[in-house]
């Protein structure tokens, strides 16, 4: 009786892999390239992005979705979210959550506006102070989480409220207002607020950050440490991974990304607002999960998060091209989130069973 291809695979795969890892090209060649791709963490994100793009291209193509302006619309949205989703995803791979990103965006926005608008200083000063403030919040988040061993969900929820309320109080005390003009000028304008056609420079920031994140996660020891910390922090610690330092660095990364996002938005629209960025708390996590990051940690990739952000950008702009109720965008994103989690779960089971 001819053995089925699957059985042949497993029978030949196991001995080869257990005795000689270096020469295990045989089983890899037998596994189809498609399967190989589907088992990667980014697969879910790529498939989601592709599906929604095709859907809106068909349904809204003649309404302007496929024009240069339409493409710039969803790409800009994806990049704004993507800048924050990248470190949020990495933090989730490392096993923690950061609910304070939203309020750090708002607070940084006010700092930039107060410095460049209210006090009429060079905008770079405002940006520098905002980054320093964000780094401080990140360090605080990280230290509290590692010292107290409390769930990061609770800790960052608390810091979110403190940053939000504290900044509102400070800005009212200093300026009497919670919404201020920010005056960009010179090089700050070029770095944070410039456009090419209708494509905003935040796309460039996003691509650069993605390249750095992908390199770090795939090719450096730090990347390994992040996966290890998220997979099982006890084992990781025993294996010599500086778990505490990894977590603190990741929290600082999410906060700095929030400050960058705030600088972009504030200097582009010349308006600082304390409530800016509140939606990133949820959409950042959604983009990471659609992109294949596991909520339990230890699995995922920055490239996947990129596709998760693209998916969100396409859906949240696509509904406007279709003339649907705008809140349907949220419904779609939620639905996609669910489907992506189920698909990723299934694919991971397959990966565990077949490899």
């Amino acid at each position: 009786m001819l053995a089925s291809p699957d059985q042949t695979n497993i029978a030949e795969a196991r001995p080869a892999e257990s005795f000689d890892d270096a020469a295990s090209t045989e089983p890899v060649r037998r596994r189809s390239r498609l399967t190989g791709f589907l088992l990667r963490p980014e697969a879910g994100g790529v498939v989601s992005a592709l599906l929604v793009f095709i859907f809106f291209a068909i349904a809204a193509g003649q309404n302007g979705f496929l024009t240069v302006l339409g493409t710039a619309n969803w790409l800009d949205t994806a990049s704004d979210l993507g800048i924050i989703a990248l470190p949020v995803g990495m933090l989730m791979i490392g096993g923690e959550f950061d609910l304070s990103v939203g309020s750090v965006v708002g607070a940084s926005s006010m700092i930039v506006a107060i410095c460049s608008g209210y006090y009429s200083l060079n905008p770079w000063i405002g940006v520098a102070i905002a980054f320093a403030f964000a780094a401080a919040v990140g360090v605080a988040n990280g230290l509290i989480v590692v010292r107290t061993r409390l769930p990061s969900f609770i800790v960052t929820l608390a810091t979110m409220l403190m940053v939000m309320g504290g900044m509102l109080g400070a800005s009212i005390a200093l300026t009497g207002s919670s919404s201020l003009s920010a005056v960009p000028s010179g090089s700050a304008q070029a770095v944070f607020a410039s456009n090419l056609l209708q494509f905003h420079i935040s796309i460039v920031h996003w691509l650069v950050l993605t390249a750095i994140a992908a390199y770090v996660m795939q090719r450096t020891a730090f990347g390994n440490w992040v996966y290890a910390t998220g997979g099982n922090s006890v084992t990781a610690r025993l294996a010599g991974v500086p778990v505490d330092r990894v977590k603190i660095i990741l929290f600082v990364c999410t906060a700095l990304a929030a400050a960058l996002s705030a600088a972009n938005e504030t200097l582009t629209f010349q308006n600082g607002n304390i409530t800016l960025g509140s939606q990133y708390v949820f959409t950042g996590i959604a983009a990471a999960v659609i992109g294949g990051v596991l909520l339990t940690g230890g699995y995922g990739s920055p490239v996947g998060t990129v596709f998760g952000s693209l998916t969100y950008g396409i859906v949240s702009l696509g509904v406007f091209f279709l003339g649907w109720n705008a809140d349907l965008a949220n419904f779609f994103v939620g639905l996609l989130l669910l489907l992506a989690v189920l698909a990723n779960h299934r694919l991971r089971q397959l990966a565990m069973g077949r490899a």
Partner: protein
């Protein structure tokens, strides 16, 4: 008797006496400053800091004690109820309230009036204040704003106006768009509404792209009216990105520095100045005069809508620069 116990006993009596002293003396009403509870919107909504500033300035000028109790727009119904309960419990000399959610706040206004606390309705609630027993109203009529906006845009040549609502489900903002729709129909034009998703309301970049996408899929739109300055500048950015500046007229409510600049360079046609500073200032003034002398203006006092456009922009800019937080946030 134990000496330590006696000492504690005497300290306790002394502390109680000190605490009760103000209550013990008869305390002439004229010595105690008038206290006003002002229930209105939160300071993270850019409309309200000038209102708060006005209320504070009036309180300082008149020497009254002001307690500003803000609602939370994210939980507008529950906090509208809670803030009124707090205000009534404090037993102020008068309550000034922004009646944004009339179904929730009206019963509390009636309750306060029945308890002997005079109520002055401020900024919102123009239809209900008399029935509730409040002694006056200062503010503007939402539908009026919509009517004035429609007139301006149609006079500039528009035939299809888009009214953008940035807080979905907010009855005041919806009433404005309704007024705009009715006036448009009267003058032979059409209008449509766009309710932005809640998550986007403070993200100008996203709002700009949302409006841009809507414009692209609804090619007939030739005018946009927005209900706050941030969305207004997002709308002008969308029009510019679609290279339709000059073909699509944009007007907005609320004043900001960027909005004033865009009036000057023509990207914005007009601003509706709701003068929230006056809402705050007059609210405190009228309540104080009523408490002290029983005098109040007869009928509603309108603080808006007043229009800012190329004709009066210079005058407004001068005040804007000299007095921060009066015309709008700096």
């Amino acid at each position: 008797m134990n000496l330590k116990l006696a000492r504690h006993f005497l300290l306790g009596i002394g502390a109680t006496a000190l605490a009760a002293a103000p209550l013990a003396s008869p305390g002439k009403a004229e010595d105690r400053p008038i206290s006003i509870a002002f229930v209105s919107g939160p300071l993270n909504d850019s409309f309200f800091p000038p209102l708060y500033q006005g209320a504070q300035d009036a309180a300082k000028a008149l020497g009254v004690k002001l307690n500003y109790i803000p609602i939370d727009e994210a939980d507008i119904e529950a906090t509208s109820a809670r803030t009124m309960q707090t205000a009534i419990a404090q037993k102020p000399d008068a309550i000034v309230v922004g009646d944004f959610v009339t179904s929730v706040v009206d019963p509390y206004i009636k309750q306060a009036v029945a308890a002997g606390i005079p109520v002055y309705v401020d900024q919102s609630g123009q239809d209900q204040w008399q029935a509730d027993g409040a002694f006056g109203f200062v503010g503007q009529q939402g539908p009026e704003v919509g009517k004035v906006a429609a007139e301006r845009l149609i006079k500039a040549g528009s035939k299809n106006i888009l009214c953008v609502i940035n807080v979905p489900g907010n009855p005041y903002l919806q009433a404005i768009c309704k007024g705009l729709a009715e006036k448009s129909k009267e003058l032979g034009a059409t209008s449509s509404n766009l309710e932005l998703p809640t998550a986007d309301s403070t993200d100008q970049g996203k709002v700009s792209r949302d409006i841009g996408a809507y414009l692209q899929s609804h090619r007939g739109v030739d005018a946009i009216f927005t209900e706050n300055a941030a969305v207004g500048t997002a709308a002008t950015a969308a029009v510019e990105a679609a290279q339709m500046t000059g073909k699509v007229h944009v007007g907005t409510m609320e004043i900001s520095r960027v909005a004033l600049q865009q009036i000057q360079n023509g990207k914005l046609d007009f601003l509706v100045n709701e003068q929230p500073y006056l809402d705050g200032y007059f609210g405190v003034v009228f309540a104080t005069l009523y408490v002290k002398y029983g005098l109040a203006p007869v009928g509603p006092v309108a603080t808006g809508p007043s229009i800012v456009d190329k004709k009066n922009i210079d005058k407004i800019l001068k005040v804007f620069d000299t007095y921060p937080n009066v015309i709008g946030s700096k």
